[in-house]
Symmetry: C2
Subunit: 111 residues, 2 copies
């Protein structure tokens, strides 16, 4: 019989969810699109929901991951901070390491 | 900020759930109590549900993990087979290895 492993993981802070796959995807899209509403639309997520996730991440973090900039030459916009970019990398690196562990461990999975 | 990792995992066969924490706990209790109904009661699980889980595991496995024995000196009973015991060990060992990986990786988790 062919056995496989499925797993889910998320990173917590203060026993609350801080980073999961949906939150990190949202950060990446905001970084690319410069807009929470465009990012939410691409994920077929309500703006309210997206904003709630950002608020939760910003409050759990020492420094905010996403900030809104007002005014300026291009009329402002939403920006993923350096801290936010570090959070994306932290999550992705962990995910990669976990997948590597799972793949190598999977080959030993025999009943 | 203090970061932690939470994870869930399960073992699949033929893209269907084969072993998860509830299923393995059920196998362990059947092994100890010799009865599906007593095991289900300890888990506050309906007998029907427990039987469904056993049926699913038995069907996905090459050899059954749990069998009912009828008759005999002690009037029969339910037995976790050698294959079933191997399945429990397989799951537990994987869980231990994953926890070891997560703990060692967790110390590197800094934002």
């Amino acid at each position: 019989m062919n056995l496989g492993i499925k797993s889910r993981f998320w990173i917590e802070s203060e026993n609350e969810k801080f980073l999961g796959s949906g939150r990190v995807e949202l950060l990446e899209k905001i970084d690319r699109l410069g807009s929470i509403s465009k990012a939410a639309a691409e994920m077929k997520m309500a703006y309210r929901k997206a904003w709630g996730l950002i608020k939760s991440m910003n409050e759990l973090s020492d420094k905010p991951l996403v900030i809104k900039q007002t005014g300026g030459k291009h009329g402002g916009g939403t920006v993923v901070t350096t801290e936010g970019k570090k959070a994306i990398i932290l999550y992705k690196e962990f995910e990669e390491d976990l997948n590597f562990f799972l793949e190598s461990r999977m080959s030993k999975l025999k009943l």
